[in-house]
Symmetry: C2
Subunit: 410 residues, 2 copies
């Protein structure tokens, strides 16, 4: 658990401002870890709207089931998150644990259990003892305050080596609104809808259905474009809470022209958090951007980009600072998408290494090697077929990944 901070961690950590209508607290409930917080409690003023997207896993966690069921109401008063135990594949006991946690949280906040949103992250298959939240959440409710965002992001970490936060201030109609976000995740990252856990908060007055539309669109271009190991979690949860306390006429439709800047800001924030997840990829030493262009469609480009970003051979080559573009060819070839070997071009950074189905005649290994020694590497592929484009982010695959995951439970 105590791995050194990823060398790819952001050099600057922003201070997140308070958001009207939101108070935070963290606690150490002793769920699994010692000497650190493992509970995050967030309370929302009445009238807070909520949207969410979740893992597409056929074996979702009990907390994901709970959130999905409550999302229809569109209202949230509490978010309670624990780390150390995913409460996934825990059967009937798992469902009872979410119900009990929500009851404890609702009593603490003075709301209905249906207004409580839950997330759990950590080991799969261990029963979660929800009685550990008894007293703890009530105490959190008393202590909760508008500050402490970085502490909040720390409380939900598992194998993460740094807390992941981001903030944006954008214009909505005639006023400024704030968007704060946090995320956790370092392994089992190939979100099929959202990442392990990410929570985004705003004081904007936007109705739940509009939030939902924007969140789904934003996730598709951020979290769903990140992979660490191609393993999709049982617990992926991305929730967006809007207190409306910034005031102004509420946004009721996704077509509202006032949304332009908010939509952009939200997407930038989601992308920021998603990239931080890749930067904290287990054992990561290099941050990798894969850009695919010239595909038959955007969807096809995305699948090819993911095939490259998930290839252990491509990722170990990048880890070894080896401009082994033959493995990129392999990953394009195996993606099952339209591709024509003889039209393919490949770049590492600015260096074109392959052109029209063969090594670039002007290719200089020394130049390519210099690119590979950088901390951030961009792999670019042009398929030469159409206008489809996609960008995804990942990290290299190193011995440290094996080390971290060879004895995660022990």
């Amino acid at each position: 658990m105590s791995h050194p901070v990823s060398p790819l961690a952001p050099k600057h950590v922003p201070t997140l401002p308070p958001i009207a209508g939101i108070r935070l607290a963290t606690a150490a409930a002793g769920i699994r870890y010692r000497g650190r917080t493992d509970v995050l409690f967030v309370s929302f003023d009445e009238g807070t709207e909520v949207a969410g997207v979740f893992t597409r896993s056929r074996c979702p966690s009990a907390a994901v089931d709970w959130c999905r069921a409550n999302l229809g109401g569109g209202k949230a008063r509490v978010l309670a998150v624990n780390s150390g135990n995913a409460n996934a594949f825990t059967g009937l006991k798992g469902r009872e644990a979410t119900r009990l946690t929500a009851e404890i949280a609702s009593r603490a906040a003075g709301c209905r259990p249906e207004e409580v949103f839950l997330a759990s992250t950590g080991v799969i298959g261990e029963p979660l003892d929800a009685t550990k939240f008894d007293g703890v959440l009530a105490d959190c409710a008393r202590r909760a305050r508008p500050e402490g965002w970085l502490d909040a992001a720390r409380a939900i970490m598992t194998t993460d080596t740094f807390p992941k936060v981001a903030t944006r201030t954008v214009r909505l109609g005639d006023r400024d609104v704030t968007i704060n976000g946090m995320a956790k995740g370092a392994g089992m990252i190939a979100p099929d809808m959202a990442t392990m856990l990410s929570f985004v908060f705003t004081d904007a007055a936007i109705a739940a259905p509009v939030l939902q539309e924007m969140l789904a669109a934003g996730a598709a271009r951020s979290f769903n474009c990140v992979t660490v190991d191609g393993d999709t979690s049982t617990s992926d949860t991305l929730l967006l809470f809007a207190t409306g306390r910034a005031g102004g006429a509420p946004v009721e439709t996704a077509q509202d022209p006032r949304l332009g800047s908010f939509r952009e800001g939200l997407e930038a924030l989601l992308r920021d958090l998603a990239q931080q997840v890749a930067r904290d990829g287990e054992g990561a030493r290099k941050f990798v951007t894969v850009e695919v262009g010239g595909a038959e469609s955007d969807a096809s480009a995305h699948r090819i980009a993911m095939s490259i970003a998930n290839s252990p051979l491509v990722k170990t080559a990048i880890g070894g600072e080896d401009a082994n573009w033959g493995r990129v060819v392999m990953a394009v070839g195996k993606a099952g998408e339209p591709a024509d070997r003889d039209r393919l071009s490949i770049w590492f950074g600015p260096v074109r290494v392959a052109h029209e189905g063969a090594r670039d005649p002007a290719y200089d290994e020394a130049e390519a090697s210099a690119v590979m020694r950088e901390e951030e590497v961009t792999v670019r592929v042009d398929l030469g077929l159409g206008a489809g484009r996609a960008t995804v982010w990942t990290c290299d695959l190193t011995k440290a990944y094996i080390e971290i995951n060879g004895d995660y439970r022990s």
Copy 2:
């Protein structure tokens, strides 16, 4: 290249008997390696029938293109294989290299270039200098003899740590026929049709279309059920040659009742070779069998089994001797196939660790840990939905895989 022999290598290496109509020779052409053979030359008597299955990669090697084009003729006189260079993604030069190699081989054997089958394995993207075969193949043709099968298997190795051979003798009609086979492959192994390279030889008298039908069916249940790293090669090639020299009335249709034992023997041999590939998986310390039952269909079971066998988290857990069945749940969940969390059961070896969507109440961690310490580990999943079944083979993921692939080219 000089990694120690996999601890999972077969304890007993069979001696392959001669096959009437087949002569072999190997040579050191200095394509990439020093101090070892890198060329295999096999000559066939006139009348030899041939069948083949190849990678489904959209970026196949030039040799795969060459074999595909010649397969229609159904006749083979020479198989020429080189290691050290895959002649893949080498553009027009690659096509010229195969043509020149085939010409040199056809002159050496006194046949037409269309009767020459080629395979190349090694680095992708480097031009293959076919002039290196000049003189070498003619010399091979002079030296070729019915023995030397293990040397042949050695000449086609790249990151393999042991040569892979197998033999079966089966009844066909009123006589015994022999099937010999060899394979190479250790990384970039997730065959979508066949593995990197595998060649199978028999003296049976069977027509090419019948061979083709049996080979495709056999590959689906052997090589296509093996994965090392989920990376599908550009060069996967499985060829079956039948000299007919055992005599007897030739088998002309796939429905011929005499084929029963041959079909079985061929499939057992293909499975043997395929499992040897997983046993030589780069960095492998454990041989892993994944059995999935109770799926909605066999195809669905296969996809779920592959999702488990390709999961880096499952594979690192097995490498770490950790009975982390939560990761098996994750891999079932992400496969995108019908699954019901609450009907799922999971076993490691004989130990049922999960039952009906939760940890097995009788589960004993010590028992499960003992299973994980074995050199061969079976992961079994029952989905509880239907009668679909599949078995696939893989290996664990260790630091040695990273080591081998972080500096393959250097």
